[in-house]
């Protein structure tokens, strides 16, 4: 069970007609390092044309640039990061990040870790984990480039987060996932439903461990760049029934998530998640969860 026809039929059954998309490059200004207006002016002087992304605070589309936006002094000085538009949403959904103890569970290559540090204004602490040591080098380079000073990085599988003996106020779960065709031309040839199921199992394990290390009333933001409901709505439905988590309402770009998946009715609260079908951005799924008190 794989291939373009198989997956696009599934999307159709979920209410979306497949269409190819061409993604626009996006940047996010690192406001801890510079005034946003100054960065924009400097980039415009370099001949880079930008357009504000309406649903993001510090995000801009690159409309025109005669050279790589990843090779300017401003980039190398950490004044902005290159970050896909939908990927800029999850970190912004937390309430009140300043001074908090935050875990970024699958952190490499670090775009969202840097964004969290910005939102926290380098206060509190971020504990950033990644299971692949090689990817930690990329993460460390991002932290150094972007002047992040409130982060500790460990080479640790998120499924073993309780080994840290810490409790967190906020947890970002930018899950390892199957991805989507918008960012990978070969996606339909590479992926099978078995990959999707394997990733969904892994995500449940990470979510369960994250719940263990989350403080009561703490928040988890769960995100994938997968379009497959097994990795999204079905996992959140499972979490609300099996973990001490409830779905919080969020106000961000995207459609209400689905509550009926191939005939299976899910908990109504799942519609408070956001599903983003590829169009302006890549495909994405975002959900905010809160840990319930013991009853």
């Amino acid at each position: 069970m794989s291939g373009k026809e198989f997956f696009t039929k599934r999307y159709k059954a979920l209410g979306w007609d497949y269409e190819a998309v061409e993604l626009r490059q996006a940047i996010r200004v690192n406001t801890i390092n510079a005034e946003e207006a100054d960065v924009l002016e400097r980039l415009q002087l370099r001949g880079i044309e930008l357009e504000k992304i309406s649903f993001l605070e510090n995000g801009y589309w690159i409309c025109k640039s005669t050279f790589s936006v990843g090779a300017t002094s401003e980039y190398l000085l950490g004044l902005y990061s290159i970050q896909e538009a939908a990927a800029q949403i999850p970190a912004t959904l937390f309430n009140d990040l300043k001074g908090k103890q935050v875990m970024d569970a699958c952190a490499a290559p670090g775009g969202k870790t840097v964004q969290l540090a910005n939102l926290m204004q380098n206060t509190g602490a971020i504990i950033a984990l990644d299971v692949k040591k090689r990817r930690l080098i990329a993460l460390s380079n991002q932290l150094e480039r972007c002047h992040v000073t409130n982060t500790i990085v460990y080479n640790l599988d998120a499924r073993q987060a309780s080994r840290l003996n810490m409790k967190f106020d906020r947890i970002l779960l930018d899950m390892p996932c199957s991805g989507n065709f918008a960012t990978d031309n070969e996606w339909f040839n590479r992926r099978t439903i078995n990959d999707v199921k394997r990733n969904a199992r892994l995500q449940r394990e990470i979510l369960a461990e994250a719940t263990k290390v989350l403080r009561t009333d703490g928040e988890i933001v769960y995100a994938t760049c997968s379009l497959e409901p097994e990795e999204n709505e079905l996992n959140i439905d499972w979490a609300t029934k099996n973990l001490r988590l409830e779905v919080e309402k969020i106000d961000c770009y995207g459609e209400k998530a689905l509550t009926n998946i191939f005939g299976k009715q899910l908990d109504n609260s799942v519609e408070n998640c956001r599903r983003i079908w590829p169009k302006k951005t890549q495909g994405f799924f975002i959900c905010k969860l809160k840990k319930r008190r013991d009853t």
Partner: protein, 157 residues
């Protein structure tokens, strides 16, 4: 533990106080923590707080974070024009004509930070010819520049 750091800072005729309790070493790499991180950090961390640099073959290689910290203090600095900024981050040396301002020592053999017109630190170099004289040649040899972030990315790819 502090000597390599102190020696490096002295290279730029600067002086910075580091709280020894807030500096941690991981293999050959040094990190500066804040009080919060100091309480939380475990021995098996990979990266923490502000990366300061590493030692290799008994030499200390400063991070760009450390250079930025030094650049905020009284230290040897030169401010370069836009074209020189670009060439410098591409790994090139600094020509005399590209230097707009010299702060601190301009003596041959001394080390100096390289800043752009916005006062942002781009790296550092070694002065090859006195910066007080007039000539049309390389004045500062590039030792390290922020273009290194790109070179690291390429190495990883």
């Amino acid at each position: 533990m502090m000597k390599p750091l102190e020696d490096l800072v002295k290279l730029f005729d600067a002086s910075i106080y580091f709280d020894l309790n807030l500096i941690v070493k991981k293999e050959n790499r040094y990190f500066l923590l804040n009080e919060d991180l100091r309480k939380l950090v475990r021995k098996d961390f990979f990266y923490a707080g502000t990366y300061l640099g590493k030692t290799k073959n008994n030499r200390f290689f400063p991070s760009f974070n450390l250079l930025r910290i030094i650049a905020k203090q009284r230290a040897n600095k030169v401010i370069v024009d836009k074209k020189t900024e670009w060439l410098f981050i591409c790994g090139r040396d600094v020509f005399k004509k590209g230097i707009k301002k010299v702060v601190g020592s301009g003596k041959r053999g001394d080390y100096t930070l390289i800043l752009n017109l916005h006062g942002e630190c781009l790296g550092f170099g070694k002065i090859l010819h006195s910066l007080d004289e007039e000539y049309d040649d390389v004045a500062i040899k590039n030792i390290s520049d922020i273009g290194d972030f790109l070179r690291r990315e390429k190495k990883q790819a």
